[in-house]
Symmetry: C2
Subunit: 413 residues, 2 copies
């Protein structure tokens, strides 16, 4: 079923907020087999909103919007809906009671402005919002479905999962789509494409996309067929080909993250991990602990931003810093070895680099980074250059550190 | 000048990648005074692409696309352009030489697949790409401008800044727009709106938007007038009103970040900072060190994920952990005090909480977090609840810690 997602807000249209809702919703409905053809963003303007709604209802049978359902004056999605579907607004006492109770729970009185959130278009199916005061709205008429969700990402997410998905599952789609993702790291896009495309002939209805990000390049397989089983078979044939061609770079599938895969390897082997971070300032630790249950294998670490912290906490020899500098192979190794000893773990990872934009030199340009690893059996460091951008360079360094550990544990040379 | 941004890629339309390019480009052109009316996303399909291009050229005078200019088979934007503008592809030797040199610099041979990136539509102005092999394309005809950029975000960014912005600056726009942003934290959206809307009358051509995020609520002011000075005056009148109404919650303007504002306060006062992080696992350190120059005031920290690390490194009394647990006021205070002593700083911030989804209890539900602060004069902790979501809860905790320090330094009670 052709689908269009419309995200609403001046903050989106002017670029002051990155549009995460479109991706969130697209992902959910795609996985159900709906085909998203268009995503459109418009500002908080009644005129643009109405035009976008009308066009979407013409070219799609399912339309999902987010944004503009809040209590403030710029929230006018309801107004556009009322005009488009020619409905009146109806007051819902139970919604008002619910909003009041929500504020009371936080120990504050409901601001008067929130009252208008209990006024809702006639005839709409209401989707409860567990985390906020704006309920979701759904209209189905003339073979078209129109769903309106709040713009706060985790509120939209909750309503999608608890309300919209069960509702949409009840609707039959003509074709089945199977989407799979293979996640690679340690190889760049065109090199990977070269390896893959050499002997590749795609079956009809199968698409392969290369999706580069800071953690690596994802391979996305989308297979369409008359039913779910046939779509799955098509997708799996391509997956097997890809595994044969570039298996050593593949660390996971679909929602696997490198941090969760490495965490599982540690847990499976009863090993523990600590980190010693300089230029990344805690990002590697954050990444590792973003996995629920990471306390089973992650003990902690030292953010050794100043050289004194490297010397006094991690026991890095001052002579190493003088002779080689903080961004050097010996310093990375000493940081990892010292951290492992200090915090008593199986493995330690260290990162020291020039994140920039300042601090580069001819022999060590901005982006130069050493990643160290220490275990009971080995200690070594690898040199990388993650480029001149502070934010992306630091992310890349954190993922490269995890990949170094993955290869160490799996003994991939 | 009405503008439409079209972002291309199956990864966007299926939601597997969040669309950061649309925001990036919208922000640049909005700041120049162009009005983005629509953002559209389509998949790697020639048909959708052509339809979106045609519609955009009808309803906008400036169209900017990203994506589909890479070397792999799913990169077909050039094909759509060639059809739409009825152009031939021309081979550019100098582009091929440049791509080859780019690979040589990394010590690898150019994959054969990259050759097709030197084939470019006739008559296009070429915008060089410093970071990648896909050049930007620009067509101007019949009062319409059509610009095509690569999809890799930092490549699109570089070409926008170095090529597209200077080009667009040369084009007159009829009206001037002034956008300003006031950044608030420590107050929720509807409470802020209540305070503000009480006596507020917006002038014609002035819009105010509330943009909640994990760091707080931004107030975005957009003022349009016949010239830049008049637009600026209108915006400033609203800014003054907002500062009068809710000044204590405003920590910065426009691109100010809480981490940079707090960093500047530390630098101005010759103070240093360290962090002791449990549930955030390094996120607070990462946030602080995302500011270039943070080594002037940030020394480092301890990621004390395991209780042993809290006891052995930070000197937290084991009796505190036994009696009150790791997520408690005394533990947060002991972590901050211990970390400040260990790393010899002016201030220490600590965070200990239940990030979830597991680990909650009746008296300490998931999201319960204590943030501690230690200085030469004071040590205390505040209790928060940042909700049940691991990712957003951790981000909120990191920002709340920075706000605690900002209020301590500025003596805001």
């Amino acid at each position: 079923m052709d689908t269009e997602i419309i995200t609403i807000g001046d903050e989106l249209i002017t670029g002051h907020t990155v549009n995460t809702n479109a991706a969130l919703i697209a992902r959910y409905v795609t996985d159900l087999g709906f085909s998203v053809r268009y995503q459109t963003s418009v500002g908080d303007s009644l005129e643009s909103m109405e035009e976008a709604f009308r066009l979407a209802l013409k070219r799609a049978r399912l339309v999902i919007t987010t944004g503009g359902l809040g209590p403030t004056h710029d929230d006018i999605t309801k107004k556009a809906i009322v005009r488009l579907f020619k409905r009146n607004l109806i007051f819902h006492q139970e919604i008002l009671d619910d909003i009041r109770a929500r504020f009371a729970k936080r120990g504050v009185e409901m601001p008067a402005i929130n009252q208008n959130q209990a006024l809702l278009p006639q005839g709409a199916t209401l989707f409860p919002n567990k985390h906020g005061s704006a309920v979701g709205l759904c209209f189905a008429e003339e073979g078209r479905i129109f769903i309106s969700l709040p713009g706060v990402p985790f509120e939209a997410d909750q309503i999608m999962v608890d309300e919209v998905m069960p509702y949409l599952r009840g609707i039959q789609t003509a074709q089945a789509t199977r989407i799979m993702k293979l996640r690679t790291t340690g190889i760049y896009e065109s090199k990977l494409a070269d390896k893959i495309s050499h002997d590749l002939k795609l079956e009809p209805g199968v698409r392969l996309a290369y999706l580069p990000s800071y953690s690596g390049v994802d391979l996305r397989i989308m297979a369409t067929a008359e039913n779910a089983e046939a779509a799955g078979d098509k997708a799996l044939r391509l997956v097997r080909y890809l595994e044969d061609t570039c298996g050593r770079y593949i660390y996971g599938r679909d929602d696997d993250s490198l941090e969760a895969v490495v965490g599982q390897l540690l847990a499976d082997n009863d090993k523990t991990l600590v980190v010693a971070e300089s230029c990344t300032g805690g990002e590697l630790g954050m990444l590792i602990t973003s996995v629920s249950g990471s306390s089973n294998y992650f003990l902690g670490g030292v953010i050794a931003y100043a050289n004194d912290v490297k010397i006094e906490q991690l026991g890095v020899d001052a002579a190493i810093l003088e002779e080689h500098g903080a961004v050097s192979e010996p310093c990375a190794i000493a940081m990892a070895v010292g951290c492992r000893k200090l915090l008593k773990s199986s493995y330690a990872l260290s990162i020291t680099g020039i994140a920039g934009p300042a601090g580069g030199a001819n022999d060590k340009p901005v982006g130069t980074t050493y990643i160290g690893l220490a275990s009971a059996h080995a200690s070594y460091a690898r040199k990388f250059n993650f480029g001149a951008r502070r934010d992306t360079g630091r992310s890349r360094a954190s993922y490269a550190a995890l990949e170094l550990l993955r290869r160490e544990i799996l003994d991939i040379k």
